[in-house]
């Protein structure tokens, strides 16, 4: 598995080296986003919209100069300048049918505030038929040159490239199959740039019948070619919309907006260090270095607090102590939102061995982390006490506690939240959902159902078995933390 255990550390070090060389230039490094398929493009739009609107938020709760620095940093990272001053998203839009891209382009242009480049799109007409094999083996090679050219053009516009976001779903055919193919190409052609795949996990009950096949093929391929997989689960986000945002008739737009909020809360600018007032140049590199110390453990999840509808926000106040206490318990008990947290779950007492190895069948168990990153935004962030996250009991033993936990801060408030916190973790919390997907795919595979649809395009039973083997390995590794 993986070509060099030290690769991630190494890449992070490269990023820091360049940072050192460019000392004195505080320009943010840029991220190029590749949006794939219906899901990728719909979400991509919401992400850029959220990033832009937040950076132009009049409040911000900080000085004008501070706000401008924040804006500039966000802009450099995610947008490039067009001639008449309208920012262009640093993005490449790819889909195998035209409707969604057309909609996405016009939505962005309509806003009048930012837009996508006219020539940043690659589109076909017939779709991928929810078939991973078609996306990977047919569309991939056929359109490789065109897509990589578009990406190259976008990269050339960056003064300094940090890496790529690849936004894709696992369930369909384009995002999943073509997404895996493109990621592989990025690994080959941009080996010094980082790749973070934003993967959307489908609802457990059907969006697509062959979603579990598409998922295992995607995950196994990405595990070999991506640097980190930031996982967003539709089921979890749906619950947030229902319980926290109080939305009655939840649409995909609602789901995507919550997701965009989560991503924005992680990747908007933060100070580069304790006591620093310059914004971090390379959050992607820093995040990778902090959270992915070993290539066998690449699955990351994100949690936010608070998360609520705008109406409720006006009547709520939070303290850092309260927010952090909830966030910590969400991590420990593997809750994906701040409602329904199980406060009974506790970390094992230090010095004592953990309460037996994790089993996917155990209901209540303590969620062990490899590494965590907490991001604090808003009023008096510098005074927030994150000590409870440094407790070694939260972590597996093979990292020094000082390396296992990091915190980023900024005074500048995020959107309308006076205080807000995000937590990005590399922990056991995705094991159960992954196990469920693998289990369902395995049951279907045993009956050989739908396989003819994949073998038709060159994905054989052996490829499935390879994927199963790799993912069982990942599950076992995480279970044994």
């Amino acid at each position: 598995m993986g070509n060099g255990h030290a690769q991630c550390r190494h890449l992070g070090q490269i990023a820091h080296f360049f940072e050192g060389v460019c000392f004195g230039l505080f320009l943010s490094m840029s991220i190029v986003t590749v949006q794939l398929g219906q899901c990728g493009n719909q979400i991509g739009f919401e992400v850029f919209d959220a990033l832009f609107n937040d950076s132009h938020c009049p409040r911000g709760l900080c000085s004008k100069k501070e706000n401008e620095a924040y804006q500039a940093s966000c802009k450099e990272r995610f947008f490039s300048e067009e001639e008449n001053g309208v920012p262009l998203a640093r993005a490449v839009l790819v889909d195998m049918e035209p409707k969604v891209i057309n909609q996405t382009l016009s939505k962005a242009a309509r806003s009048g505030r930012w837009k996508y480049g006219q020539h940043s799109c690659f589109c076909q007409k017939q779709g991928s038929g929810n078939n991973w094999a078609y996306g990977y083996s047919v569309h991939g090679p056929r359109h490789e040159e065109s897509i990589m050219n578009l990406i190259r053009k976008e990269v050339e516009k960056c003064d300094s490239l940090s890496g790529f976001f690849i936004i894709m779903s696992m369930a369909g055919g384009t995002g999943s199959g073509l997404g895996a193919f493109v990621t592989q190409n990025l690994q080959d052609q941009y080996s010094s740039a980082l790749k973070m795949n934003q993967i959307i996990w489908p609802y457990g009950t059907g969006e697509v019948i062959v979603q579990n096949y598409n998922s295992i093929l995607t995950l196994s391929h990405l595990y070999r070619s991506s640097d980190a997989l930031l996982v967003h689960e539709n089921d979890a986000v749906h619950k947030i919309c229902a319980k926290l945002m109080n939305i009655k008739q939840i649409s995909f737009c609602d789901i995507n907006q919550v997701l965009a909020h989560q991503l924005g809360s992680v990747f908007q600018p933060t100070y580069s260090g304790e006591g620093s007032f310059h914004y971090r140049r390379n959050p992607l590199g820093d995040l990778m270095e902090n959270l992915v110390p070993h290539p066998e453990f690449k699955m990351l999840g994100v949690r936010n607090i608070p998360q609520m509808s705008e109406n409720s926000l006006a009547y709520s106040t939070f303290t850092w102590a309260g927010l952090l206490k909830h966030l910590r318990q969400m991590l420990i008990s593997n809750a994906k939102m701040e409602e329904g947290i199980d406060w009974q779950v506790r970390p094992p007492l230090s010095g004592l061995p953990p309460l037996g190895k994790m089993s996917v069948n155990r209901e209540i168990h303590f969620n062990t982390s490899i590494a965590n990153l907490v991001i604090l935004r808003g009023k008096d962030a510098h005074s927030a006490d994150v000590g409870a996250f440094k407790d070694p009991a939260l972590y597996t033993s093979w990292l020094e506690p000082v390396h296992a936990f990091n915190v980023w801060k900024t005074q500048r408030a995020f959107r309308k939240y006076e205080r807000s916190a995000a937590l990005v973790s590399n922990s056991q919390s995705l094991v159960k959902p992954l196990d469920r997907i693998v289990g369902k795919a395995w049951n279907m595979f045993a009956s050989r159902a739908y396989l003819h649809q994949y073998t038709k395009f060159g994905i054989e039973e052996e490829d499935f078995l390879d994927s199963f083997t790799l993912l069982e390995q990942v599950i076992a590794s995480y279970c044994n933390l």
Binding site: Q38, Q42, E97, K99, V100, Q103, Q124, K125, Q126, G127, G129, N130, N131, G173, Y203, G204, T205, G206, E207, V208, I209, V210, H238, C241, A242, I247, K248, Q249, I250, S251, F252, C253, I255, V438, G439, K440, W442, N443, M444, A446, S447, R448, A449, Y450, H452, Q453, F468, T469, E472, Q473, A476, S477, N480
Partner: protein, 438 residues
């Protein structure tokens, strides 16, 4: 994008001439991507003189005079070889007009001679000439009271071709369509829906002239089938939050190549007056889709085994509505052990004209088996007596082995369904997983 070959109806269009801006309401510059084929002239002539005459390209026709005499062999062997070149020529021409040809819709009946014989001959031609293009077949199966004596022969011979050369078949029977129309008539005439019925609703063909419909029920019945195809393609034609293309139907609903027969049900079957229907009425739509009254073929999916199910929703329906209803309906439906969550869903924002939302359910379900079993029994009753057999055997290329092979093919298919049904009451267990060393 799609291409239609039909013996009765039309769906997608190409623009004739310079392809410039099309003024609203003028369909004369739009031409159907269609080839109309009949070995008699009556029906095709009627279409070409009717209100849709400008929609069809008069060069995309293939007709003859004598008809196929309700004989599959005449349609398949005689007219097949006679018209093969001409058909290919017209198909190629139409294909050239497509930027991206994705699928063929073939619409025909099983019980007659032309639709059944020549229609299935064409399937093989399409497979050879355009191997990568999907072949969707809408087949009208003969009802019990069918007046064509040889329909069992024609149907069985056609079934073999459908088994081997179609990607997806939507079986429909006239009795179900007639029952649906009758129900609509009752509702409308009894005044139950009162002023809510829009006379120009596309569910019914003529403008509120119900007497006329009773005289010519086939127009209304065909309209139901047309609506089926409209809904099937809606997500490919219009925008939505969860699109579904035609190639996804085959991918998700056909787990094994032979098992490609899908039971369809449509709702609503009459116009609803309200535009913003509160959730309760919306949920009623989902329940209706699983009721026998809304199916286009007589079958009982609720008491049989689902292999897969697709829900194609149109209108102001969101993902939470869809999920709520799946959760609600799931417990009363039996899914095969390896596909317990076998749902494929799509959300298209644009509802059908005159409605606020609609739902098309496509089910791959073992409930089609009785239809095939009945077909086989009717065939055997006829074949045992050798009735009318000479009409077939006298055609060059036809031998008794054609019949025996066709029956074997159908028997094998029935056996597949039997084996699946046998798993129905078995408890669902997770299979042991791969063991990996860590």
């Amino acid at each position: 994008m799609g291409y239609l070959m039909t013996f009765s109806h039309v769906l997608s269009f190409r623009v004739v001439g310079d392809g410039g801006s099309i003024s609203k309401g003028k369909i004369c510059s739009l031409k159907a991507r269609a080839v109309l084929i009949d070995m008699e002239e009556g029906v095709v002539n009627e279409i070409l003189q009717g209100p849709l005459r400008d929609v069809f390209d008069s060069k995309q026709l293939i007709t003859d005079i004598s008809g196929s005499g309700n004989n599959w062999a005449v349609g398949h062997k005689v007219f097949g070889s006679l018209y093969q070149e001409k058909i290919l020529e017209k198909l190629r021409k139409s294909a050239e007009h497509c930027d991206c040809l994705q699928c063929f819709f073939i619409i025909h009946s099983m019980g007659g001679g032309t639709g059944s014989g020549l229609g299935t001959f064409l399937l093989k031609v399409l497979e050879d000439e355009f191997p990568e293009v999907y072949r969707f077949v809408t087949s009208i199966y003969p009802s019990g009271e069918d007046d064509v004596i040889t329909s069992p022969y024609n149907s069985i011979l056609a079934m073999k071709e459908l088994n081997e050369h179609a990607d997806c078949v939507l079986p429909i029977d006239n009795q179900s369509l007639f029952d649906i129309i009758s129900k609509i008539d009752v509702m409308v005439n009894s005044g139950k829906l009162g002023a809510a019925i829009k006379p120009k609703s596309l569910v019914t063909s003529s403008t509120g002239v119900f007497k006329k419909r009773q005289e010519k029920p086939f127009d209304a019945m065909n309209n139901i089938v047309a609506n089926l195809l409209l809904n099937l393609t809606s997500s490919a034609r219009f925008e939505g939050s969860l699109n579904m293309d035609l190639n996804e139907i085959s991918m998700n609903l056909v787990p094994f190549p032979q098992l490609h027969y899908l039971v369809s049900s449509l709702t609503p079957l009459y116009t609803l007056a309200d535009v913003n229907i509160p959730p309760r009425r919306l949920d009623q739509m989902f329940s209706d889709a699983f009721s026998k009254d809304h199916q286009l073929i007589r079958a009982d999916p609720r008491h049989s085994l689902y292999l897969a199910c697709a829900l194609m929703v149109r209108g102001n329906v969101q993902i939470s509505d869809l999920r709520r209803n799946i959760e609600r309906l799931k417990p009363s439906l039996q899914f095969v052990s390896w596909n317990q969550e076998g749902w494929k869903t799509s959300l298209c924002s644009v509802p059908p004209v005159g409605h606020s939302h609609s739902l098309l359910a496509l089910a791959n379900n073992t409930c089609v088996k009785p239809t095939f079993v009945e077909l086989k029994e009717r065939f055997i009753r006829l074949y045992k007596k050798k009735a009318h057999l000479h009409h077939y055997l006298q055609i060059e290329g036809m031998e008794e082995s054609c019949f025996s092979e066709a029956v074997s093919s159908l028997s094998a298919l029935i056996q597949e369904y039997n084996q699946l049904d046998a798993t129905k009451s078995m408890p669902v267990e997770d299979l042991p997983r791969l063991n990996v060393a860590v």
